[in-house]
Amino acid sequence: MRLAYFPGCAAVGTGRELNSSVSAACAAYGIELVDIPGWVCCGASAAHMTSAALARSLPAVSLGKARQLGADGLLTACAACYNRLKLAELEIRDNPRVRAECEEATRAKLDGELAIYHAVEVFDPARLGALLATPTSVAPRLKGLKVACYYGCLLTRPKTVSVDPDPVNPSLMDDLVRACGLDTVDWPFKTECCGASMVLPRPESVSRLTGRLLDAAAACGAEAVVVACPLCHANLDLKQPTARRASANPVPIPVLYLTEVLALALGVPGSKLDLRRHTVPVPALV
């Protein structure tokens, strides 16, 4: 599989661990990533609050550039980018008026279709299981680690773009994580909101939402949380000390990217990932 890779702004800035783990996991699994020269911000979440036309046109710039690469689709590992790119692609594909408007705005052709994937969709649990059955240096301390898989809002809502057939109780990440030898806990906050981009405008709201997520994960026995979005990661990891100030016994909970778990399980040494850049340390796994 050869995919045009859209990192998104956060993955080259405050979420750079995501970027290194996506490259490492895809290389170890056998997915070839091609850079999209000149990709631009998808506009999340300011554009769709400002103008519907802008919300389509910003993703359309990168969708046009990705089309020229002749890849099997576009891959992103950010839930917000995935959501905006996929919504725009579906509108462009299904509505000739929208396609004409976006071609006019971006001065580029947007014919045909481009498959849009989030990283949680391109790994197959069965194939992972087979790959891991061969004796490699599977990070021994990952085995049996109890984790809560957190999907957040934008991987499953609106349901027209859900990565999982069940947007209410998704299991895609749980299946992958279990295929890597970890245990997953059953918890009721899989798709609750972490506060997303409110971190600057309303930090107190983010602390409240993030705090209740982390408390729930801890109460359900999770030793770590696994996420698939750099915005969720920033809220759960960077904001964790503030978010859990009100908790009775706040044991720090490491927050791992799904792609970090996959890379570690596929034998990528912890030193090749950016694990030391996490706020809550993940020493037990390195």
């Binding site: 631009v40 300011a46 103008s51 997303a196 309303r202």
Partner: protein, 169 residues
């Protein structure tokens, strides 16, 4: 139907007239406790044509999680309705409105979001004080996650003007 209702229905591509006020949207809203009008009340204002809803704080409290839309038994796109209200309101002093302007100003100039200039722009234009968020910024910087030199890909001024018109942000 009155003009305001017709207009928000068209922009949000939904039909608020279907609402039977079960308030499931409000019950599921993670931001409800910070709102002056709860989501089902916002929908009710829209279907009654009460334009003053545009001045409600709630319009800028919603963080776009889409839970209301997903769970509405009448299939009203409540989250889309909030986007529509934000697109047309002239009340743009809320922190989220200022944040959006700061973010888009950077994207227009650079084609990318750059967190450091975004934070500084928001702090200055939103009168937050220069040091707002400085603790987080410092922690990110120490971890090598706050680039001092901005990423650029393209100046998007021409696209912004084509899409939003000369008066756009």
């Amino acid at each position: 139907m009155n003009e305001f209702t017709t207009s928000v229905n068209r922009i949000a591509a939904t039909d608020v007239m279907r609402c039977y006020q079960c308030a499931k949207c409000s019950g599921n809203c993670p931001m409800a406790r910070d709102m002056d009008l709860l989501p089902h009340q916002v929908v009710h204002h829209c279907l009654m044509g009460v334009q003053e809803v545009l001045d409600a704080h709630s319009v800028w409290i919603c963080d776009g999680c889409h839970t209301c839309t997903e769970r509405c038994p009448r299939e009203i796109d409540v989250a889309g309705l909030f986007d529509a209200l934000r697109q047309v309101t002239s009340a743009r002093n809320a922190p989220l409105a200022q944040f959006n302007r700061s973010l888009l100003a950077g994207v227009r100039r650079m084609g990318r979001v750059n967190e450091l200039p975004l934070g500084l722009h928001f702090n200055l234009t939103g009168r937050r004080g220069l040091l707002n968020g400085a603790g987080d910024a410092l922690r990110l910087y120490r971890k090598g996650k706050l680039p001092l030199l901005p990423h650029r890909s393209a100046n998007l001024s021409a696209l912004f003007e084509r899409v939003l018109g000369g008066g756009g942000q």
